[in-house]
Every structure is written in C-alpha cells, then in structure tokens.
C-alpha cells in the first residue's frame, strides 16, 4: 500500500517519496531507537526530546514529498479565479444509483 498516488511520475521521484515516507514513519514506529533516557537535552530525557524533534522532521519530509509530487506549479493562483466552491459536478456526478 506504500505506493503514493503518483501516476505518471518518474520512478526516481516515486522512489524518493517512498523512502522519505518510510523513514518518517519508521522513526516513530521503531521504538527501540528512542526508548532511552540518554543523551539528555537540558532536563529532557532522550525519549521525550527525540519524539518532539521528530514531529517537525516528519512535517518537512511530507512537504518535500508534496513538492515532488505536485503536478501543477501554482495551484494557489488559479484557485482564486476558479471560484469552484459549489461542486455541481460532484453533486450530480455519481449519485445515480
């Protein structure tokens, strides 16, 4: 399931994204990495400061993946004039059961 929805992306990009996400998850999932009290940062045992530091690391990793997978260069600029809040298509598109 670790296949990002990136149809049409280069294999290298997909590989990098997959590795980034696996490392991000693994850094929290593999508990023996951080189940220790030393080295301390200030008064914080390693167990605590490692996990708190890992949060922004994962955020940056996700952002990198987002940038790598982004298909359109400037989505923010376009959304302003599209005004497509009311999804008429989504409303009527698939409801004929």
């Amino acid at each position: 399931m670790a296949q990002p929805a990136a149809s049409g992306r280069k294999p290298v990009t997909r590989g990098v994204v997959t590795i980034l996400l696996i490392v991000a998850i693994g850094g929290a999932l593999v508990v023996p990495i951080y189940a220790r009290s030393l080295p301390k940062l200030g008064d914080f045992p390693f167990f605590y400061w490692y996990q708190l530091v890992w949060v922004p690391v994962v955020a940056v990793a996700c952002w990198l993946c987002y940038v790598l997978l982004r298909t359109k260069p400037a989505p923010a600029a376009r959304s302003r004039n599209s005004g497509s809040r009311n999804s008429g298509a989504a409303n009527g598109g698939g409801l004929q059961k």
């Binding site: 929805a5 189940a35 009290s37 996990q51 993946c65 987002y66 599209s82 809040r85 298509a89």
Partner: protein, 545 residues
C-alpha cells in the same frame, strides 16, 4: 463555588456564548445557492482551501482525547501514554499516501461517506452497510470521550449539584449539548469549521503559556521529571508493580508501537476524519495539510507533558485523590492551581470548545453515514437532496442523544479506552476502505466475513480484558505470543488473513463478483482543470467555473 472558580466560570461561560453566536452565524458563512444539499450541510460545500482545512482538520482530529485523556494517561502511567505522540507523528505520512486517492474518488463520484465508496467499489450493499454500522458504532464512544472532557472541567469548577439524579447532576453538560445540537442542526459542517478558528487559537495560547509559565513555578523541568520519576517508581498496591516508567521499558515497546500504529491507521478512516478530508476544495489541500498539521502534534506532545507537571504539583495529586482517583481531572486541576483564575478560565474554554468542535463533526459524519448508506440505500432510493439534508439534520440530533447516554452511563476510569475501543472497531474497515483504493483483488464476500471475524475477535478480546479496577473493557492491549499488543492490530491481521484466504477460495469456485462503478481515472481526479497528462480522465469532475 469559590470566588476564583466563579471568575473562571464566567470566562468559560462568555467563551461558550461567543462560540454559540459564531455557530449560529456560520449558517450564513460562504452561503450556498441551495443549502438543502447534503454536500452543503454535511461537507460545507466541499469548498475549504488549505487554510480553512488546516483549522478544521486540526479542530476535528485533536479532541478531548488530546487535552484530557492523553495527559491523564501520562499522569498515571508515564512514558506509556506518550504513544499518542508517536501516533500523531505517523498518521500524516500515512494519510499523505491514501488521503488524496480517497478524496479524488469521492469527488469524482459524489460520495459523501467512505461507506458509499466501498458500496460503489464492490457493488455490495452488505459491505457498505458493514462499513456504515462500524463507523457509527466507533463514533459513539469517541463523542462520549468529548463529553467526559467537558465533564472533568465542570467537576473541577464545582458546577452542577451533587444530586443523585443524573439529569440534575449533569444539567450543565446537557444544556451545552442541546445548544451544540441546535447550531449543528442549522449550519451543518460550517459551524464547527468556523468555531475551529476560536478553538485552535485558545488551545495554542493556553499550551504556549502553560509550557513557559508552569515549569518556572514548579522549579524547572528537572524537578518535574524528577517528581514524575519518583512517583512512577513507587509500587502500585493494586497490581504489585510500579505505576510506570519515565522511559518505555523493553517489555512495553511492542504495546507502545502497536498502539501508535493501530491508532494512526485508524484515524483517517473514522467518519469524522473522512468528512474533514472530503470537505477540501482540491486534492493538493490534503497533502499540504499532511505537512502542516504536525504543528498540532507538537502541541499534543506538549499537552502530554502537562501530565507530568500535574504530577509534580501536590495540590493536583490531592485533588485527584479527593475526586475518587479520577485522573481525568489532572489537567483542569493543574490549570486551577497554577494559573490566575481568569487564565484558568481561558484554559477551560480551550478544553470545552476543543471537545465541542469534534463532537459536532462526529455527529455530522455519523448523520451523513445514516442518510446516504441506510436511509437512501434501503428506504428511499429516490430521496431528493432536500429530503436527504432533512434526514441528516435529524440524525445528527439522534447521534448526540446516543452519545450523551454513552457518556452518562459509562465508567470513565480511563476515558482513553473509549477512543481505543473505537479504534479496534473502525480499523476492521481498513481493508474495505483503504486497500480497496489500490486493488480490488479481495472478493466482496471475503471482505464481509473478514470484517465480521475481526469485529467479533476485537470486541470479545476487549471485553475480556480487565484493568483499571474494571472486569471488562479495562484495557486495549492483550498478549499475543507473549507481547502485549493493541487488540486492533491483531484483529485487523486476522481480518486480512480470513479475507485473503476466502478470496482465493471464492475465486476458485467462481463466486460472482460485484460491479465496480469506479474507473481508474477517478482515483487521480481533481476539481481543477485536468492537465494534459490526465486529459483522458473524466473531465466531468472539473467543477463549474
């Protein structure tokens, strides 16, 4: 009520009043051309961009679980409670992977709930119903957990009489809930989306002040960790073992990892989380938010540390003991004893509003499920959008009453078990909801039987687990091959093995497969004009300009 409590309560009541006004006003926020569409009431018009979604999802996912249950667990057991941080770290890379596909197929096909996707993907009413019932069932204890959070604040403030009559005792809670139900009924998802701005601001302010101010008053972090460590080493007379540890011990690592992983896999298939995702305007919004939402995880980590600050405050320990050992009171008591009364009021407001927002979204999500997957599917296939919306509004009221009953009746020694129990159930829909986004290899009947086995195993196992002074539903981990493991993970593995084995048998015997109404392009669809590479994608998805 003491004078200080009266000041805090006034602040809390004022915040509640402001939020109530916002809740009702939200009906006019981003007004829809036709408000009687389920897309409008139940998904806020599917029009929230990155910014609003960030607040909405943050307000949706970080609940009384974060503000009350997690620090209570840390207060009582130490490092074991920190699995919640590990969980909220893992959840965003996970949703980064499957969230956009789920959003796209829902957008392309007009699905409002995850169960509609499953039904459409497998052409199976039964499987859709299984996912629906699981979603509603798992949401109930989660809403109840929000009420427990509100109750703990009211208990510390001394609001409500000590009457033996539950209706009188819990009157303030019931009133708050009726008001919440009223504006949710009227404004739908727009109400919690708009209130989420207030909630998140209050949370950030409270947590930042707490994390800077309280350690100074308690003699620094060294003292806080020292006091916590000293407590955790003492032997619990009830179990004959230490209360916990400051760092997870090797014996506890497996439980820690599986609780975190199980919760992370479960979070974004909860109906309320899916509702938050489906309300996004574009596919990209989900990935951007996967990178931005961890800001809340950082807050969760800091809030978890409040558990240790509470432990290092003798007055809190005395208050918890006086409250019959109710550790849920630890954070409200910490605010009461550490902050001036007015700021304690801000902190209480953060907790209470922080519980109201997710409770509203959860009831909306459950109402959407009922409307689309039960009412429309089985009773009124030709229901008009206006009828759908009316039914959903009424269903949201019923859901709240159900959750209120859940909260008033249930034992709350460890409210976190409410959430973990919900996790056991909802994770059994993972094969049908998430794996189906990638492959349709599983046979629909195999998925139903796998789901049933997983649900049965998980519920029975949880029922048989004693803990916290209870005979049943006392804990969420059970030993597997000598390792304490989150029951949800064991149950979903059994579920997958059964579903996989039966799929092979059903395929060999040529049992008929259902019709898949989705198309490969649906899974990459976006609301913006499709780029050339996806030109053959269903262009109808493109929203009207």
């Amino acid at each position: 009520m003491s004078h200080a409590n009266a000041v805090s309560f006034t602040i809390l009541a004022a915040s509640f009043l402001i939020v109530t006004v916002i809740g009702f006003a939200a009906a006019r926020w981003r007004p829809a051309e036709d408000p009687m569409q389920l897309n409008e009431w139940g998904l806020g018009g599917r029009g929230f961009g990155t910014f609003v979604s960030w607040f909405l999802l943050g307000g949706d996912l970080y609940t009384a679980y974060t503000f009350i249950a997690v620090p209570a667990l840390v207060y009582a057991t130490g490092a074991a409670g920190f699995y919640a941080l590990s969980y909220t770290i893992m959840v965003f890379p996970i949703v980064f992977v499957f969230g956009p596909r789920l959003w796209s197929v829902a957008r392309a096909r007009g699905y409002v709930t995850p169960a509609e996707f499953v039904r459409g993907r497998y052409g199976s009413q039964g499987l859709g119903l299984a996912v629906t019932l699981t979603g509603i069932l798992a949401t109930m204890p989660y809403i109840a957990l929000q009420l427990v959070g509100i109750e703990s604040v009211l208990a510390v403030l001394g609001v409500g009489s000590r009457s033996g009559n539950a209706l009188v005792r819990d009157l303030p809670l019931i009133i708050a809930f009726i008001i919440l139900a009223a504006y949710t009924y009227l404004a739908g998802l727009r109400a919690p989306a708009l209130i989420a701005f207030v909630k998140d601001t209050l949370i950030y302010v409270t947590v930042i002040v707490a994390i800077i101010y309280i350690p100074g008053r308690l003699g620094g972090w060294g003292h806080i960790f020292g006091a916590a460590s000293a407590h955790l080493k003492t032997v619990n007379p009830a179990t004959g073992k230490p209360f916990g540890s400051l760092v997870v011990l090797p014996a506890g690592e497996w439980a820690y990892a599986t609780l975190a992983l199980g919760s992370a896999l479960a979070l974004f298939i909860y109906p309320h989380a899916v509702t938050g995702v489906f309300a996004s305007r574009r596919r990209d919004v989900i990935r951007r938010n996967a990178a931005m939402l961890p800001a809340y995880s950082l807050v969760l980590g800091l809030i978890a540390l409040l558990g240790y600050m509470a432990r290092a405050t003798p007055a809190v320990n005395a208050g918890v003991a006086a409250g019959g050992g109710n550790v849920q009171l630890s954070v409200p008591l910490l605010f009461q004893h550490m902050f001036p009364a007015w700021f304690a009021g801000i902190g209480y407001s953060a907790i209470v509003i922080g519980a109201l927002v997710p409770a509203a979204i959860m009831s909306i999500a459950a109402a959407n499920l009922f409307t689309r997957n039960i009412y429309k599917e089985f009773f009124r296939p030709r229901a008009t959008p206006a009828q759908e919306t009316r039914v959903a509004r009424l269903a949201s009221l019923v859901m709240k009453v159900g959750a209120l009953g859940f909260a008033l009746e249930l034992n709350k020694t460890f409210s976190i078990n409410l959430q973990l129990l919900g996790g056991i159930w909802i994770l059994q829909t993972f094969p049908a909801v998430v794996i189906s986004l990638y492959t349709r290899w599983f046979h629909r009947f195999a998925l139903i039987i796998g789901w049933a086995v997983g649900m049965a195993y998980g519920t029975i196992q949880a029922y048989q687990t004693p803990g916290g002074g209870q005979q049943h539903f006392g804990a969420s981990t059970a030993p597997v091959f000598g390792h304490a493991t989150y029951i949800a993970i064991t149950a979903v593995l059994i579920n997958l093995v059964v579903a996989g084995g039966l799929t092979l048998i059903f395929r060999a015997t040529g049992l008929r497969d259902g019709y898949d109404e989705t198309r490969p392009a649906d899974y990459c669809a976006d609301s913006a004009p499709a780029p050339a590479a996806e030109a053959d994608a269903r262009s109808t998805v493109t929203a009207a300009p």
